[in-house]
């Protein structure tokens, strides 16, 4: 069959948030990292999307929030159990389903390291789902479904920027 010409680009799930300020809370931390480090990596993962839209993300430590972040093992109450190290790393729900992001706590989550699985990159990807982006078939995009290893200097692909701005508009000067 060989290769077939195919349009490659971002995909939108079909739902989005109607507010510009979104709150989040980390309700369950991973075993292998310090809480302060997790707080920082999650914050900069949200900032990836904040930098190219007018969205802002505020961390809350109590009460009801838009996006709940949890590190869980195996079956964790949503009917989509994690499968241990490797395989599925994390999943997140689109806005219409609540926007929550769950990370497999059996993964070796790391920060600024070529070892393990980079928490920031995976979190930034998952928050793309929390905001309404589906997987992109552009291999270089953040929203491609496959983990491509740690990148010491990260930047969003043009495809990711077009996708998120299709949902929330461009960042105003």
């Amino acid at each position: 069959f060989g290769t077939r010409a195919r349009r490659k680009r971002y995909a939108l799930q079909g739902s989005r948030w109607r507010v510009k300020t979104l709150t989040y809370r980390i309700t369950k931390y991973p075993n292998g990292l310090l809480q302060n480090d997790v707080d920082r990596e999650i914050a900069i993962a949200f900032k990836v999307w904040e930098d190219v839209t007018d969205l802002t993300f505020e961390r809350s430590t109590s009460g009801k929030v838009h996006i709940e972040v949890r590190f869980e093992k195996g079956e964790h109450g949503d009917g989509d159990p994690f499968d241990g190290p490797g395989g599925t790393l994390a999943h997140a729900y689109f806005p219409i389903y609540g926007g929550d992001a769950h990370f497999d706590d059996t993964e070796a989550w790391t920060i600024n390291s070529y070892r393990g699985t980079n928490l920031f990159q995976v979190a930034a990807h998952e928050f793309g789902h929390s905001l309404g982006l589906s997987h992109s078939d552009v291999r270089s995009s953040l929203m491609a479904p496959f983990y491509r290893g740690y990148e010491s200097s990260f930047s969003l692909d043009e495809d990711d920027i077009k996708g998120i701005q299709a949902l929330y508009g461009k960042k105003q000067a």
Partner: protein
């Protein structure tokens, strides 16, 4: 070589993967019922995955396809809606 206990190595585990990530309708593959799936449908699912992953669309579970299927990934379906 895949080392995970649940690594994708052949047709059955590949079908589970395709069902989980939206390349195959769940009713087409039910390991409990032993439902038969046409070779054409399996080939179609493989090619859809290969197209999405930027691989040559051979319709076969070749090494590059299996390697991609065993790459750590996000648990959200590739095809939604």
């Amino acid at each position: 070589a895949p080392t995970k206990p649940n690594a994708i190595t052949g047709t059955t585990s590949a079908m589970l993967y395709f069902t989980k990530f939206g390349y195959m309708e769940p009713e087409l593959f039910n390991p409990q019922s032993g439902a038969l799936l046409s070779q054409d449908k399996l080939r179609e699912s493989i090619m859809e995955f290969q197209a999405f992953a930027g691989l040559d669309q051979t319709g076969e579970l070749d090494n590059s396809t299996l390697e991609m299927m065993n790459t750590p990934r996000c648990g959200v379906k590739d095809k939604v809606g």
